[in-house]
Symmetry: C2
Subunit: 215 residues, 2 copies
């Protein structure tokens, strides 16, 4: 796999050594996350809306209310920024100034396009569901034509993309290391709890195996 | 405590029953989260940047690279949207169409103002640090004048604000409940791991107690 070419808009300028353009790493972050924040402007006012997403090949798909809000005002190609952030740790330094977070984030810029092709739409919906629980799509009742029509799916090409990450411990000023202050990292983990059936599942149908959640 | 007044821009239109304007609930979400996504537009192109934040009274404070990027291009009041999202569960329905997430999110609109007053800036920095580990500010080396100067802090009044939330199990179509498909929720939790010292902490200095992380 190759790399994304930084543009004037995706070149990481602050802490340039934290910039990542390698496709495998960028896709790894996108595939590990499940929540994105979609930014778009209406009359100069930015809006940032959280929503689910899935990657399929070199396309990022979003759907649901974020898409609706955008489409309510803008029916053409929409300039958007989609950001996915994973927080890995709090970084506690010896000074307030050097406190930080370890994180991995991906920023995707581009024009969102409404998906109208039936096969592409079905593939996107399959990706959404399987992104949360691999294989789930084949276990659920397939979508009806009416549901397909009622669902807005937007695609964003993974083209103008960059990632940024910080890892490791605190970096303190030399003279502060002698201070009697604890410093290090506190890992932050996103974990799935025990599945909880909704009370109307027929007897003998097991919950999805925990292994399938990958987290 | 009272409520926020919805404006044309913060009124929740899709699933209006999910809209929350109660200040206590909104502040509860802001105080539970630790990562926000800041949206701003440059020449019509939106950018969404993840960063830490803290609330102090009716002000939301952000700092670091998001502030820098904004300030690099815009030196006056900046139209921003700051969004904080907590994911509580995956909602697995009997159809792909009714899959969802349980979440609580807050959207803040307004103009960010650069904090120049020394006392307000110190208070904001204290809030950032104590937001991650309550009481931490009093344990670390205080900021120098140089560090204060090097830190950009932006304040956003908590004025035009709304929250949105979903809770509960899947809501399936009546005829789907008979299907032999597991459905329910899978809780999603953000949890802190064991603190890991950076190897240069003097003997006898304990790590912050796990209780202090509130997660």
């Amino acid at each position: 796999m190759d790399s994304f070419t930084p543009t004037g808009r995706t070149q990481v300028r602050r802490y340039p050594n934290r910039g990542v353009y390698d496709k495998a790493q960028v896709y790894g972050i996108l595939d590990e996350g499940f929540l994105c924040h979609v930014g778009f402007a209406v009359d100069g006012q930015p809006f940032v809306i959280p929503t689910g997403y899935a990657r399929s090949g070199d396309q990022l798909y979003i759907h649901g209310s974020a898409a609706s809000r955008m489409l309510r005002t803008l029916h053409q190609g929409v300039d958007v920024c989609v950001t996915v952030t994973l927080v890995d740790a709090f970084v506690l330094a010896r000074s307030g100034f050097h406190h930080s977070m370890n994180y991995r984030s991906v920023v995707v810029l581009g024009k969102a396009r409404q998906v109208t092709d039936r096969e592409e739409k079905l593939n996107a919906l399959r990706s959404f569901t399987n992104h949360i629980v691999p294989g789930r799509w084949d276990e659920v009742r397939p979508p009806t034509d009416q549901e397909l029509k009622a669902t807005t799916v937007l695609a964003l090409p993974l083209d103008e993309v960059s990632a940024k990450m910080r890892s490791g411990g605190p970096i303190d000023d030399d003279e502060d290391y002698a201070l009697p202050i604890w410093a290090g990292i506190v890992p932050v983990r996103t974990q799935m709890g025990e599945p909880l059936a909704d009370g109307r599942v027929p007897d003998g149908i097991p919950a999805p195996d925990r292994e399938r959640f990958r987290r």
